[in-house]
């Protein structure tokens, strides 16, 4: 997407501030992420990673500042159509099977059910044989895979993923990492909040947050990042 000759960033944050009562979760964050970037957000617990992602989805209200997704304010109809979000805890219906989740979310986004594509996605995430089962009866790892499938079944320009590797076995983690990298390689923007430092080797850019402030933004240089993380 572009406006004249200037490309519109996939995600643009200007002075983003978020307070929960007396607690300041984010303090005036400025950040621009271009289309096709694969960016990792790292930082200690409570540094503001999840808060930033949730603000970008529109789940949280900004205390101050501006946050745009593909040029549209976060949470607006256009931005909601552009952003796909994988929360840190899978949020799924108790009474829908995996396949029914995918069909429902596809239809919510104006897509007719495409069984072939759904089958491919489920096979990729190792859920093909569980398509008819209820995720409410799954282990944490299988629920996480379902959550990823739900995020990928719909169209999006920006993918926001919060702690995607929690609960996944090594094979699941590898599949997830490959999926994220392929998505970025296909020109879509991927932002991942994670504590998994091994993932950083696969990303193009690492943003380090500390106490709600951006303290480093650059290429994935492990030793330097570790210094910031203490």
């Amino acid at each position: 997407m572009s406006e004249g000759d200037v490309p519109i960033p996939a995600l643009a944050a200007r002075g983003v501030r978020k307070e929960y009562g007396e607690i300041v979760a984010l303090q005036g964050l400025d950040l621009t992420i271009d289309a096709g970037e694969l960016v990792a957000f790292v930082g200690h617990n409570g540094s503001g990673k999840s808060t930033f992602l949730r603000l970008a989805t529109g789940l949280l209200d900004l205390t101050d500042g501006e946050l745009e997704i593909s040029g549209a304010p976060a949470g607006s109809l256009e931005a909601r159509g552009a952003v796909s979000y994988v929360p840190d805890q899978p949020v799924l219906y108790d009474d829908l099977s995996v396949a029914e989740h995918l069909e429902y979310v596809s239809r919510l986004h104006g897509l007719d059910a495409a069984p072939e594509a759904t089958r491919e996605l489920l096979a990729y995430l190792g859920l093909a044989h569980r398509a008819g089962d209820l995720p409410s009866q799954f282990s944490r790892g299988l629920r996480q895979r379902t959550s990823l499938a739900v995020a990928f079944v719909r169209p999006f320009e920006v993918l926001l993923v919060d702690e995607p590797f929690v609960g996944l076995d090594p094979a699941g983690q590898d599949a997830c990492i490959d999926l994220l990298c392929e998505t970025a390689a296909a020109g879509r923007t991927v932002v991942v909040a994670t504590h998994q430092l091994s993932f950083l080797e696969r990303v193009g850019r690492v943003v380090v947050l500390r106490d709600g402030a951006l303290v480093r933004d650059g290429p994935p240089e492990r030793d330097e990042i570790l210094q910031f993380l203490g």
């Binding site: 009562g21 007396e22 989805t57 529109g58 789940l59 949280l60 209200d61 949470g75 109809l77 256009e78 909601r80 159509g81 952003v83 979000y85 929360p87 949020v91 799924l92 219906y93 009474d95 829908l96 429902y104 979310v105 596809s106 239809r107 919510l108 986004h109 104006g110 897509l111 007719d112 495409a114 072939e116 594509a117 739900v150 079944v153 719909r154 169209p155």
Partner: protein, 521 residues
């Protein structure tokens, strides 16, 4: 991925229909019928109780005149309080409570939020209408027994006012939620509305829209067409709320969606403690990081529970302090009315102090929430629970000043104030003991109840639910005793006569709870 664009709203509609069909298909109809039977029994029992409590003889002309003069403002006060509570709920994201998955997948999707939320609101409105209909119809039917006017007229008026009250409360919440009214603003508007109604009560006039709704409630004895304005104002609230529903904050809705589900579950298993905790979370009631006062450091050990209790009390948010005072004041007013002859008001007084006691017994409840902490100490758990009772009793005794003042306002008499002051001791003790029993019973998931024959489980559940508030209500026996003794005797002697009753109530309640805590925990 091959895909063709289609309209998105039908997906929401189709899914909801499919889920409803699936729920109906998997229903256990025997269980549903049993629940309907139990509900019908309880409702019938409550109705009989209400009929007995209100009596059956028509009131005198003087009383009718009083009802006509003061009734609209008092009923208006109830309406104003309800609307104020609705506004507060709306400022926190109420009244809608979607599933967490609906918030994440539907409201974050590119769907028309107004359409989705309006559908949910209209479904919720059916329940609101049913409550208004039942409460209003019951009140109208009861009023017809004692006030002039036909049963049909009272029923029609009762239903109308019940619906207006229910929809005004719900609509105020929906409007505040849609407009994202801040909590402080909602409280301020609520205070203005209640203050306006209080002014009407004091001045014995009808000026506020809420008082006009009160006028409608008394149409069978005094018809004033101008009261329709109150109904129109009340109806405007839900209409505006439905129009602006899309403005709701997703942040508030997401927080609420998770908590309301837990709250409903806790209510179905009568887990009072969980209900209290979840209600505080819904209200975003957090302990103060900067306490009202700090305890001085002590070198010597001992009094751990006493000091821990006060440390928690000093971190109470202002909202909890206000709630406690309001509940105790309401209890004082109700107890004064009970002493004056309306004996059933003693239940209102007891339930109000029971709720206040649940707030005051927070340290004890925290102990019940975290049994592992005490399990790792060389102390008896029951002993710890008993020691935690002292601070909340002290708090309730301090708060009882508000109750004594309210009793004096409702029935201005030095003897009533004396009885209220004496009653404060057993009432404060009993409500804390009742709260302690409720909290500890809620924490004991696998107790005696689970060992019972299934046939007795229902009775056990009723006893478990009813015993704690019953203990709190027993704390007001002295007020009733004084009221009964005052008939035909010197009020001062009647007040003094309450002292042995006080001692008996305090000793009986405290003895029972201490025995129970030390031997059954």
């Amino acid at each position: 991925m091959t895909a063709a664009r289609t309209a998105t709203y039908p997906a929401v509609r189709d899914l909801r229909r499919a889920r409803r069909r699936r729920r109906v298909a998997t229903l256990d109809w025997v269980d549903v019928l049993y629940r309907a039977y139990v509900t019908a029994l309880l409702v019938a029992g409550a109705l009989v109780g209400l009929v007995l409590a209100t009596g059956g003889k028509p009131v005198s002309h003087g009383t009718v005149s009083d009802v006509r003069r003061y009734g609209p403002a008092w009923i208006g006060l109830v309406v104003a309080v309800a609307v104020g509570l609705g506004l507060r709920s709306g400022s926190r994201g109420g009244p809608l409570a979607l599933e967490p998955a609906d918030v994440t997948h539907v409201l974050l999707g590119p769907v028309d939020r107004a359409r989705v939320l309006r559908g949910d609101a209209l479904r919720q409105a059916r329940g609101v209408a049913l409550i208004g209909l039942l409460v209003g119809g019951t009140a109208g039917g009861l009023a017809s027994r004692r006030l002039p006017g036909s049963l049909a007229a009272w029923l029609a008026t009762g239903v109308l006012v019940g619906l207006v009250l229910a929809f005004a409360t719900w609509g105020a919440a929906l409007l505040a939620s849609g407009l994202r009214v801040r909590s402080a603003v909602a409280t301020a508007v609520g205070v203005v509305l209640v203050g306006w109604s209080v002014a009407d009560v004091v001045a014995r006039v009808t000026t506020s829209p809420a008082s006009l709704v009160g006028e409608v409630a008394l149409w069978p004895v005094h018809f004033r067409v101008v009261a329709v304005i109150g109904v129109l104002v009340a109806v405007a609230l839900p209409v505006a709320g439905l129009l602006l529903v899309a403005g709701v904050s997703l942040e508030a809705m997401e927080r609420r969606s998770g908590l309301v589900g837990q709250l409903r579950f806790a209510a179905t298993v009568q887990d009072v403690r969980t209900i209290v905790v979840l209600h505080r979370q819904l209200a975003q009631e957090h302990a103060r990081s900067d306490p009202w006062a700090r305890l001085r450091a002590r070198q010597a050990p001992g009094h751990a529970c006493w000091r821990r209790g006060w440390a928690g009390i000093f971190r109470w948010p202002a909202a909890r302090v206000t709630r406690l005072i309001v509940l105790v004041a309401a209890a004082g007013a109700a107890a004064a009315l009970a002493g004056a002859g309306t004996v059933p008001m003693v239940a209102v007084a007891g339930i109000a102090t029971f709720l206040a006691g649940l707030d005051a017994a927070e340290a004890l409840a925290q102990e019940a929430d975290h049994p592992d902490i005490v399990a790792g100490m060389p102390v008896d758990r029951g002993d710890i629970i008993v020691r935690h009772v002292a601070v909340p009793i002290a708090v309730m005794l301090i708060a009882s000043l508000a109750g004594v003042a309210a009793a004096g306002l409702v029935t201005p008499s030095s003897h009533v104030v004396a009885v209220a002051a004496i009653t404060a001791v057993p009432a404060a003790t009993a409500c804390v003991l009742g709260a302690a029993v409720a909290v500890v019973l809620g924490a004991r998931r696998f107790g005696v109840l689970d060992m019972m024959f299934p046939e007795f489980a229902g009775i056990g559940l009723v006893l478990r639910t009813a015993t704690p508030p019953a203990i709190a209500i027993a704390g007001f026996i002295p007020a009733v005793a004084a009221g009964q003794a005052a008939h035909g005797t010197d009020p001062a002697i009647a007040a003094a006569a309450t002292l042995p009753v006080v001692a008996a109530v305090v000793l009986a309640a405290a003895g029972f709870v201490v025995w129970w805590a030390r031997n059954r925990l």
